[in-house]
Symmetry: C2
């Protein structure tokens, strides 16, 4: 009997109007690049995000509802090796994931268990395998593809993503790290399923047919 697949693989990312996810001259010590933190101002102000990261206050808005709806039912996360390397130290001993995380890497490495339910699993057999394992771990919950851009591009190209949400911030960077590098994805139609605007950011949600 065929298993009915109820797990959605979803991703969301903030971009400038000209398509950048980090400002110019980003590097491992400076991952957002010059002025790149501008893209995340809207998020850091949200009470739901603050609560998840142990901070008080913040504002509620239509953003919050969408953010919560999309993200409250995540059971596992997939990310690239660079994102893990950049995050490992700042995330500390109790990362805010509180779920299994599958890191796409070339380095064979034992799983790393942190306090609060976060385990980093290192997957050397490619992004499709990492998504598959994340789906199993998520059980009836959804899988989040956290980034970076390269992993999101790979998931789009292989049609591993079911849903992509783009948060468009009204700023032009002029230069930086792009969400979509040339030829990083094949030509592909998406279905625009939701458009939500709130002060300072527009949220566009897309469904990807298998």
């Amino acid at each position: 009997m065929e298993r009915v697949d109820m797990t959605s693989v979803i991703s969301e990312i903030s971009v400038s109007l000209d398509g950048y996810i980090a400002g110019p001259n980003d590097n491992d010590e400076f991952p957002l690049g010059e002025g790149g933190e501008r893209l995340h101002e809207w998020l850091i102000e949200l009470s739901s995000w603050r609560e998840r990261h142990g901070l008080e206050g913040g504002t509620q808005s239509p953003d919050v509802e969408m953010f919560d709806e999309t993200w409250k039912n995540i059971g596992a996360t997939v990310m690239g090796k660079r994102m893990f390397d950049l995050g490992e130290k700042p995330w500390g001993d109790e990362p805010s994931f509180h779920m299994p995380v599958f890191v796409v890497t070339h380095e064979d490495r034992e799983a790393l268990t942190k306090a609060g339910g976060t385990t980093f699993n290192f997957i050397t057999s490619g992004v499709a395998a990492a998504v598959e394992q994340a789906k199993s771990a998520a059980a009836d919950k959804n899988v989040a593809v956290a980034g970076g851009a390269n992993v999101i591009q790979q998931c789009l190209s292989a049609r591993l993503l079911d849903q992509l949400t783009i948060h468009i911030v009204p700023v032009l960077f002029g230069d930086g790290r792009r969400l979509f590098d040339p030829e990083s994805v094949p030509r592909m139609e998406l279905e625009m399923s939701k458009v939500i605007s709130s002060p300072g950011v527009a949220h566009l949600q897309f469904q990807i047919a298998k």
Copy 2:
């Protein structure tokens, strides 16, 4: 006494979600590139656009209202030389502009008068001069910057634009001609003034502070 400037300089353009305004391998004989016509499907279906181009039928939608509101009060148009060269023949003896058009070019050339009120004026002193002359010609109406991408980039960089509307079409091209080439515009904050969604396209309108 200082003149109060009531003329707005506005532009609008359709882009793929990954930021392309034409598909791959575009050239002068094939200006939309491979599959680039996809970006304009939503527009060609609109009854207001069809009416303006002498066609019957079409659909009405929230698109129409926004489109009409923005474009019904245009008194002059600015465009680049490539756009003029590509359009001159298909636009025919009675182009649908019905207003003065100012073409930014290096070629000194006499004005070209067409039937129905369209005159092409060739401006060799740069994009700012072209916008200035268009503003004078438009009197109390607005000026449209029709494109291409290069002229829009120049107008943004020089803060000649007051309003930019981006129509985001839910397709990934993967490659093609970009709206925003790297380093084509300086870092710049915009004000997101309107977000309208309709089936198959999201309209994001931005105001640019002087």
